[in-house]
Symmetry: C2
Subunit: 341 residues, 2 copies
């Protein structure tokens, strides 16, 4: 193919103080790098936008280095090979990778995990960034490896309509659990119950504090809560903690409520003792050994139509920062992607 | 033997509002119950006083029913059989049980776990209430089953000079760990290092807040903290949480700082995610299957003199409430018992 004159990309220009804003990012139109032996050039069809990116924008100690200033914002991508100097990749191959917020990426295809071929015939390509990608595997790990659900138990997930939450619900229903979501707004709650098949969904925006939210959870979870998948933190965690059954398990995947640097204490940690809970944080990229098993289950669910997750699709590279900020405010509905092709 | 005219006992008269006080208890001199078939009468040599008893005094939902008003305060006891209508127990047998705050108890010896014979020749009898009893097994479970230490890792325990903390230190040192205590006051810290053999001990009373305490912990734990055994909660938990290494484990055994009903939030639960921690509460009585293995190790350590835990000994049944309140304020030095014989 003929490449366009430049590769449009978004770099992190400066770090947020408090809320992130469009001014933290800067668009750069870069020349195309020449291809070295072993490399492939990928034209991105979709960019993935995920809450973890907000954490990377801060210059604080965390599980990975912060996003470097002046560099392309990191992120998952799915696209097609348009130029190859690697024997195992041909022009036209569909691949997922971590190409970042840009139209094209050049990757060293021999680096383990840098790029992976995917089947575009049974699964729509964008789902490799969501249900059949990192968010889906995240839900799988938390449910299967930390929560270890049993049929008949009650599972709760916050941000239930999102990419991770919706996959969590499908995986937990497949295991015979009662599944209850927490989501923001009546529309999302209706979607969670009517389209995703959750047993109930609680609208956290209808509750001013954790005490009010926990009462609503009591109605939605008459037998208490055995497993909780935490994407949010703050009021949701406080409210669910009060409903946990003895020997409950909490998988902590996200604390989006605290990303802007606001203090976010846990009101009653003594409940961990009182109810003999296990609370465990995890990062799915540290457990690559489970990805094949998880992706097989998730790909089958999506490929057979048993799980039809919704997506929020922003269009064009210019739309990326606004779409990302909307995700942080919960304006997306399902997995947030940016469509470039 | 000839029994005294009455059996002196302490019952819970009323529940504390805020701090517990002597007026919550009432002494009752009860007649001796006649012995039924299958029962034994035990003369208590020592009563055990433990922080968990404070939790039972509250009428709040917890992992067990509250202590009933007007009933003998619960608690571990060690003593001798003075009368038996059970074929497996003879007068003079030394036994541990849950006889409560009284001079004598009558138990149905055929009930599993109600009473257990112990060897009084190699281990001083009172230690069956401490290092070779429930507190020791508590330390063992948290260390071995939740923290799962590796040689060379750093372990921290709060209330380090107490019955659980001192046993935790001995068990962790035996596994090749660096062991750091947190205790209240210079005397206790000196004892923890010089007599119990911890590598370091931090005096929490020398620090006004968690930020100050965590700085002291940084010096005592130059390689961070891999395992933490929590007896206290509050400021100690906040301070240690900031020092945890990736994949650290926290065994939550006690939250004594919150027993008086004061709110005790956890300042930064997001660290559970950032450092991929496991935080797990437990009650040792729910894991009876590990007691034999734990008691064997603990009994050998004490019997061979490798572990010489200190005890605080109050004398006489009348001293019981004051000794208990002192324990809650940290006035004890090592395992708190009441000597009756």
């Amino acid at each position: 193919m003929t490449l366009p004159a430049t590769n449009a990309r978004w770099v992190l220009d400066n770090r947020p103080t408090g809320e992130a804003s469009v001014s933290n990012f800067r668009r750069v139109d870069a020349p195309h790098a020449p291809l070295q032996d072993g490399q492939v050039r990928i034209k991105h069809h979709y960019l993935s936008l995920d809450p973890y990116m907000r954490g990377r924008m801060n210059d604080t100690k965390s599980y990975t280095a912060p996003q470097a200033l002046g560099e392309v914002m990191i992120g998952g991508t799915v696209g097609e090979v348009v130029e190859s100097k690697h024997p195992k990749y041909a022009v036209g191959d569909t691949v997922v990778g971590m190409g970042g917020w840009q139209q094209f990426s050049v990757v060293d295809a021999s680096v383990m995990g840098a790029v992976r071929k995917v089947d575009a015939t049974h699964v729509p390509l964008s789902h490799y960034l969501g249900a059949v990608g990192m968010p889906g595997v995240t839900a799988w790990y938390g449910l299967v490896k930390i929560i270890e659900p049993k049929a008949g138990q009650t599972m709760v997930v916050s941000a239930a309509s999102g990419a991770v939450g919706s996959a969590f619900g499908a995986l937990a229903k497949a295991r015979g659990c009662r599944v209850v979501g927490i989501a923001g707004g009546a529309d999302k709650c209706a979607y969670v119950v009517n389209e995703l098949g959750f047993d109930a969904c609680v609208d956290y925006k209808a509750h001013a504090d954790a005490m009010s939210l926990t009462k609503a959870l009591k109605t939605a979870c008459p037998d208490g809560v055995d497993g909780y998948f935490e994407n949010v933190g703050g009021m949701c965690l406080d409210a669910v903690l009060m409903r946990m059954n003895a020997f409950g398990r909490i998988a902590v995947c996200g604390m989006i409520a605290g990303y802007d640097g606001k203090p976010m204490p846990l009101a009653a940690p003594a409940l961990i003792l009182v109810n003999r809970l296990k609370v465990q944080g995890f990062i799915v990229s540290e457990h690559m050994e489970i990805w094949p098993e998880a992706l097989t289950e998730l790909g089958t669910m999506v490929g057979t139509g048993k799980f039809r997750p919704r997506e929020s699709v922003a269009v064009g590279i210019d739309a990326t920062p606004e779409a990302f900020l909307g995700l942080l405010k919960g304006r997306n509905f399902g997995k947030q992607v940016v469509k470039l092709v």
